[in-house]
Amino acid sequence: MASAEIENSGKPEFSWGKKRGVGGKKKEVQFYESFTYDGVEYALYDCVYLQNKDREAEPYVGKLVKIWKNADNSKKIKVQWFFRPSEISYWLEKLSVVASENELFLASGDGKGLANVNPLEAIVGKCFVVCVSRDDRNPQPSEEQLRNADYVFYRSFDVGQCSILDKMNDKVGELEVRFVFNRQENGIDTGPILGSKLKEKDSRISVAYEETLQHLGQQPHEVLESIKEDGNHSHLVAKEDAEAGYLLSKVETSNGHAESFLDHLKPRVGKRSAPLVDQLNGEVTSSISQKNNSADANAATKQAKDSVLPASKGVAGERLECDPPNLDDKSSKREKLDDPVKLTESKEKINIEQLTSNQVDLKKSSLVSVEEKTKLGPRKDTVGLDKHRKLIKDSNVLDERPSKKLKVQESVKLSEDNDKNYLEKDNSTTSGSKAKGSLAAGSSAEGTGKAMLAQSSSRPVKDTKFSEDSGALGDRPSKKLKVQESVKLFEDKDKNSLDRATTSGSNAKGPLFAGSSTEAIGRAKLAQNSNGLEKDTKFNEEPKALEYQPLKKLKDKESKSVNLSEDKSKNNLEKVNITTSGSNEKGFGAGGLIEDKRKATVAQNSALMDDGLSKEKPNGKVNELNKTIAGPEKIHTKEEPGEKMEKLSKSSSKLDKGPPAEMCELKLSENSNDSIGLENGPSMVKPNAKTNLLVKNCFRSGKGPSEEKLDEKIRPNKGSTKSSNAFVDDKIYGKIFDVTQRPEKGKWFKSPGIFLERMVVAHDEGKLVLLQNLDPSFTSAEVEDIVWSVFKETCTAKVVQGTAISSPFCGRALVIFNSAEVAERVVKALIDGCLIISNRRPVVGCIANLLHLRGKQSTFHGHVSVDEVDENKTQTRKDKRDAKSSSHSSQSNSVAYDLGTEWCLLQKRSNFWWQKLHKAHQLQYEELMAKFKRNLVRDA
């Protein structure tokens, strides 16, 4: 078919591009760098579609590694192949590697199937393959590139060993690795894009973050510098803390004092957040008062003896200190809420959440953590941005995640340990700086010191951590599997850490234990953050893990807090929990998104867990988390976030029911929802895309291809009630979307001639769908576009051609989908919902059931076998091929004329009744249309 078409259209135009060199014995072979074929320019190392022998099958995809012209003028290309997952499904199965649908595997190694020489004419089109490897040699693709990509790849398939390689060696097959990755100019392109994005966000965020943002805008290395600066900041903060503690001792809990204290802080902190602080003073004070109260409560619960008051003061001071940064955070959050939601922001929020959760856990020791948090604040922002950036870049690279996440958690713990060690070492310095207030302050100083340490020493720590991480990995899986257990383990660990902390801090007394443990947690978080920063800059892989970790930890902490309350059954603790949840809620109030994200990440985590570990347990985790989350919800449902939280609870319930995969979807979709809601509509598509990336990531990490598609649909905020039907979930009701053209693949693939055969096959496989009520003037391509836009499915569509008896109002099309599941899903979506295209009738779809397809062709009536009737006409049989003898206008004096007239009569009658039928149908439709035309018109 394709070749036939090529012939039909004449020879495609062709011209050589840049010459490269000559080869061969007699220098008769001319190599080229590029050429233009059929109007498309191809260059070396481009990816192309190549004609498949089986023309109906999907075309091969390969990378041009050599282009040359032989002495006989034949044009040759050498291509290194990409494998579709379907092509190496045997090995994938064997190696239990999960590949997403649009993922390719680059051939590598040595052996048959690595590369082939082909005639240049075998090229059918250009293929956009994007390398999403997180390898730092790989210029990361931009979001847009990812969206436009036909395929992505980051792994290779060794044709010799028949194994999947996750990393690219210096040479992949015969190809230097730099040609494997995205082109450099792409990288340059993406750089500014990312930068500009960051800047956009920056401008939206607040002046407070300008510094860090600028740092972010620059290269990762510079981020390190910024981290250092942060470290300095933290030092400053520490001093401030001390002062604050002093002031607080005077001020105690009065808000006015707190305000004054804030004012006092403003000059310093205010440089970053002054305007915000002004605006938010009220809130700050309120939060301060709350905190103070909680601090008091904490103090009471702790029953701290000598140092309680100073501790509380120190705590308050710390809190105050924390507040400005928190304010910054909150303000930024609010700003963010106003602005379109961005991932970075949400991440920041996550950080904030962490902070809040820390507060929750720490209630007693929260002061310390708060300090840490405050100090980390700027960092977190930067971290968030970094993460965001990396998310974008690495969005596709999740495969390696599970293990990494595992590592990350471990690393976190390790980092905790390390931090503690460092703390112990550096206690002198930290305590020296802070230790004015009291022992409590000292403990807080510990925290800060730890934070500082983490910041300053995080680099050296890293290495050690990494190594430790790798070593510690063995333990983790079990923890993840059993969250509860892990929680307990955490506790144990915390206690251990507490022990250490107590030893080092020397402040923590019996009652404080829990608090100190939370402290440890806070430290852990800090360590995470700091680690995250460093890792972000240095290790691409880590940032993701970091993102997830904080969430997990938060959850863990929540669950911990719950456990603590239960286990220890201390009323105080319970109260603490409540208050903590309150603080959480505040955090949420600013960014309910955080929770979502948390969940999303949880879901991701669980999904990841699914991959490697047992599948059922993640549910357990999630449930637990949900419970813990649900608890606070019930307590505080007044604030805005309440809604979201409710949703969360819903989702949690869904999670309970659904299989893990669905959980992922749901949560992710919730994310997208939130982002949509925040964005207020107009630019809906963009956030989707981002979330999609995320979603894709998580799916890629473990899920089948079919689920990937679901992600791309956005679910409405309110309308989503069914969790089982992804399409329904993802519909946005009432909103009008444009049908966009489906990304064109090689144009020669549209081979219409064999549609009938394909249709029969598809019909037998249940992939054939009959769409009715289309605009009859739609073309097949338009139907394909519609299906693409609405369902994000590729398909082959064929409009049923009109005939004299077909309805002039109701167009029909036969659509072949890729699989029966997809077809069923589309049909179900059409049955459950009402899809209106261009304000016409609702589209009706059903799995085509064409019984007659295999049945015999029914006989054609009306052509009497003439030889039986009239011997004169037997000759027509002989020359049936000679049409003239048998084709004629009948003369009016023949029998045939009479009979023919009867037929004409019948035809006229048939015409009449068809017209009648169509008219009646149209009338009936119009009757109905009249009922809702108003609305349609209004919407239009």
Binding site: G719, Y733, G734, D738, V739, P752, L756, Q772, P776, S777, T779, E782, I786, K798, V800, Q801, T803, A804, I805, G811, R812, G833, C834, L835, I836, I837, S838, R841, P842, V844, H852, F860, H861, G862, H863, V864, V869, A883, K884, S886, S887, S889, S890, S892, V895, A896, Y897, L899, G900, E902, W903, C904, L906, S910, H921, Y925, L928, M929, N935, L936
Partner: protein, 197 residues
């Protein structure tokens, strides 16, 4: 997109010089149709319309002429007298082609397709639901009418076959009577001359 507008204009011109023909026998091929119409016009192209949904229907084809005038001439010619191709007596029917009949047609330029999912709470949703039901009903009605038409055709064909057979028998009888001298004998008997009869 300007190119596509031109393309579409060219396509519309092609539609105008194309004739839709149906009631074609399944044995009719492109060559047969070309040859049959050759006596009137020059056929540029013949495209059969595949009937995916109901192949039991008689075939239909799009016959492209050289000019729109030729196309309209053919349509009137075939309306005037029953035109039979490759078999009798069922004539071929011709009418002007319409855009929707073409398989490979360019997209209508400038058209923007939009879609939306109706909100289940929207009152229109119910209406749309009804329309969907209606669509099913109409499809059934269409199917029924189609079967009815096929039946009618079969009836007519059978009836005509009967008639023809009766005619045939009559002729056979006459022929037999003439050939086996029965006629002559009868003529003698009635004293008439055979040539007068």
């Amino acid at each position: 997109m300007a190119a596509s507008a031109e393309e579409y204009a060219a396509f519309e011109e092609r539609v105008r010089r194309t004739v839709y023909m149906d009631n074609l026998s399944p044995q009719v091929t492109e060559n047969v149709l070309k040859a049959a119409l050759d006596q009137f016009v020059n056929v540029v192209n013949v495209q059969f319309i595949p009937n995916y949904i109901n192949p039991s229907l008689p075939r239909a084809a799009l016959v492209e002429m050289e000019t729109p005038n030729q196309a309209s001439a053919i349509i009137t010619e075939m309306a005037d007298s029953p035109f039979m191709v490759l078999g009798m007596p069922r004539p071929v029917r011709a009418c002007a082609a319409e855009v929707e009949m073409f398989d490979s047609r360019p997209k209508k330029p400038g058209r923007k397709i939009t879609y939306k999912w109706l909100d289940p709470e929207d009152p229109d949703f119910e209406v749309a639901r009804k329309m969907e039901v209606l669509t099913g009903k109409h499809a059934a009605e269409t199917e029924f009418l189609l079967n009815h038409q096929l039946k009618e055709e079969e009836n007519l064909a059978n009836q005509q076959l009967e008639t023809l057979k009766a005619h045939y028998k009559k002729y056979e009888l006459i022929d037999g009577v003439l050939s086996d001298n029965t006629a002559k004998k009868l003529a003698d008997r009635y004293r008439t001359r055979l040539s007068d009869a």
